[in-house]
Symmetry: C2
């Protein structure tokens, strides 16, 4: 079966009732050997083949990469950070400059997060109440209130295709009661986000919380599914837990999510995490790893990560990956090493592009494997390659 | 007359004897109203329309710009710095990685300077003797001897199309005797470079010195022309003198250079300097200004420089230049300002590309004006625009 075949007879096909969301998901095929699924996300700014990886465009720029170069990596949708954009340049400035699409120059779909994770990870003097989060900007110390309603108002000014609900993220490990409290608050905030939404050309994804507790994850999913969101994210992971715990929590959550909505694992992750999560039924990812690691001279390859500052690359004429079409792979490893040891900007630029291209090629290969019902073998093959490296 | 017309009947056409240099110049047309001239430089890596501006690729990279992006600016030839490349990664490493073309990925012509100017401007504890320059690396303090022969040996390892002679650059103002000494030493070094050269696929350009003294410039030019170089540079300018003094010195030098060889004004300069020098008969330029200023948020436009950090651009939806095809000009000034105020790499990247594109478009327009015998009017129009800004 080819990726763009439509299967209306599948037991996993969209509910015949459909939904009226601006952003919709069409399931095309589920691998016969696992939960990996092929689908299409339709948004006001075009369609995206799922599973997909979203490059992170923190303040309206994927760091060090022009929009043409982002397109050339194969990306179909990018992510913008509400927290960062609200601080600089401010949502009103973005709105005056035409919204995030015009501002950044990215004409495809955009997902904005809600700021919840950045409040948890970056802000200072954070106080969470039922009303929302009160905190100080990590840039200038300004006092800021971020409520579910305000998060949606900002995201509507940004004009993303997909807005994320504001959620209450807590550090793990934590007491079960604290995890349950945050999960229940997140569910109440999801409903407030839904009620605050005004734009017809934007859909909200809800975020399942509940730490590593299967029962709390199930309860969170059930509460949110009841509210009928356009998509569901799995949040609160990749915060320091073991990969195996993350994979188990995905397994505990996915069965409680509807098959006709996309599933987005937030802030994940390493190539192996993407492969494991797709295996378990996840459709969408975002992570700063390809760009952040690229800036630090680490390149992803099928043989595992390559650290380009190492002396062994000094006179190596081979490219990182002879099959990769990215501009970094038209140079030798020796040249790339030289850029980093000389402190040249082009090093971070080229490796950011290479790593983003690597992630996109990985997702393209995953979609092809699912379409051919050979995702489990594909997974084994990829994991073996990375472990060899 | 169109730029690519060939004029064999012109009094300025190449000498019928021609020359056996790997790099040759064909004069196509001299503007009827001034000394501005249109020509073609032929090198082992292709042809370049002159006048032209060479982006500076210090250590084998135009800072922050990929090779595809350099090509897209319209550049026809780039410059590499012998001093910088000799220190990092070392000429032998570049040679092992296939030479500077393969190393950098730039397949067009490359000119390498000799290191003379960097010894003057960057190195520490410099001691110049008749033998050469002895100095300490500005990076690790290593003791280095750079002789004319060594400079050519390094440039042969780099494999550039055009190697520059090692010259003795001195700070201005200086005593006439010191200027004369350095000029005569540079002429002797030119001959030593010529005698040291082994590669058939590389030509050497000599460098006219002599400070701001017309007689010394004439004497320098005559000595070098006698030796029959493939091209002649005007060196030792743009070291702090007034623009008018630089222009006068160009006027004092050009008549003593042969019409059938290209003339290269080293390290220059601002857009107005290029326009004034082309008016006086100069064919080639290099300068870090477009990239260095771009990294510092200064953009060149026909209305003069634009400082993008200024508050006035905060919500400006207009591009820098609606007619410019570069990727920066697909964004608003407000977005570009935001990139700089947020410390995002994309700001320096986009403005470097814009400024390089600006310089190339300026040279393209200059060539068209010369071809149409309207260079003097073109010059006036450009200068008026920049002064208005």
């Amino acid at each position: 079966m080819r990726p763009d075949d439509e299967r209306t007879d599948s037991p996993n096909s969209p509910s015949p009732t459909g939904n009226s969301h601006a952003v919709t998901y069409r399931l095309q095929h589920t691998d016969t050997g696992c939960r990996a699924r092929l689908g299409t996300l339709t948004t006001p700014h075009g369609e995206v083949a799922l599973p997909t990886f979203m490059p992170v465009g923190t303040v309206g720029t994927v760091k060090g990469v022009t929009i043409d170069q982002v397109v050339a990596t194969g990306a179909g949708i990018i992510l913008g950070n509400t927290y960062h954009l609200a601080l600089r340049p401010g949502a009103d400035v973005v709105a005056q400059l035409g919204g995030l699409h015009t501002f950044s120059g990215w004409q495809g779909p955009i997902l904005t997060d809600s700021g919840g994770f950045q409040v948890f990870s970056l802000a200072e003097r954070v106080k969470i109440t039922e009303q929302g989060a009160r905190f100080q900007s990590h840039i200038d110390g300004a006092r800021i209130d971020l409520t579910p309603e305000e998060s949606i108002a900002i995201q509507e000014k940004l004009g993303s295709d997909i807005a994320m609900q504001l959620d209450h993220v807590i550090a793990l490990p934590a007491e079960r009661e604290a995890i349950a409290d945050a999960m229940l608050r997140s569910a109440r905030w999801a409903e407030r986000c839904q009620q605050a939404a005004r734009r017809q050309d934007q859909s909200i994804f809800a975020i399942v919380q509940g730490g590593l507790d299967a029962d709390l994850r199930r309860e969170s999913a059930e509460r949110l599914v009841e509210l009928d969101f356009a998509g569901y994210a799995i949040g609160g992971l990749s915060v320091g837990e073991e990969p195996a715990e993350m994979y188990r929590t995905i397994d505990d959550t996915i069965p409680h999510l509807p098959t006709d909505r996309p599933r987005y694992l937030m802030g994940v992750g390493r190539p192996e995490d993407l492969i494991e999560a797709v295996y378990r039924g996840v459709d969408m990812f975002d992570c700063v790893m390809p760009t952040r690691n690229g800036r630090n001279a680490l390149a992803f390859t099928d043989a595992g990560p390559v650290r380009l500052r190492n002396e062994c690359h000094k006179t190596d004429p081979a490219p990182l990956d002879a099959d990769c079409p990215c501009p970094a792979c038209r140079h030798s490893r020796g040249y790339l090493r030289h850029l980093f040891t000389s402190g040249e900007m082009l090093g971070p630029i080229l490796l950011s592009i290479h790593n983003l291209t690597y992630y996109q090629r990985l997702m393209t290969a995953a979609r092809q494997a699912i379409a051919a019902d050979r995702y489990p073998e594909f997974r084994q093959q990829k994991l073996a390659g990375w472990q060899r490296g």
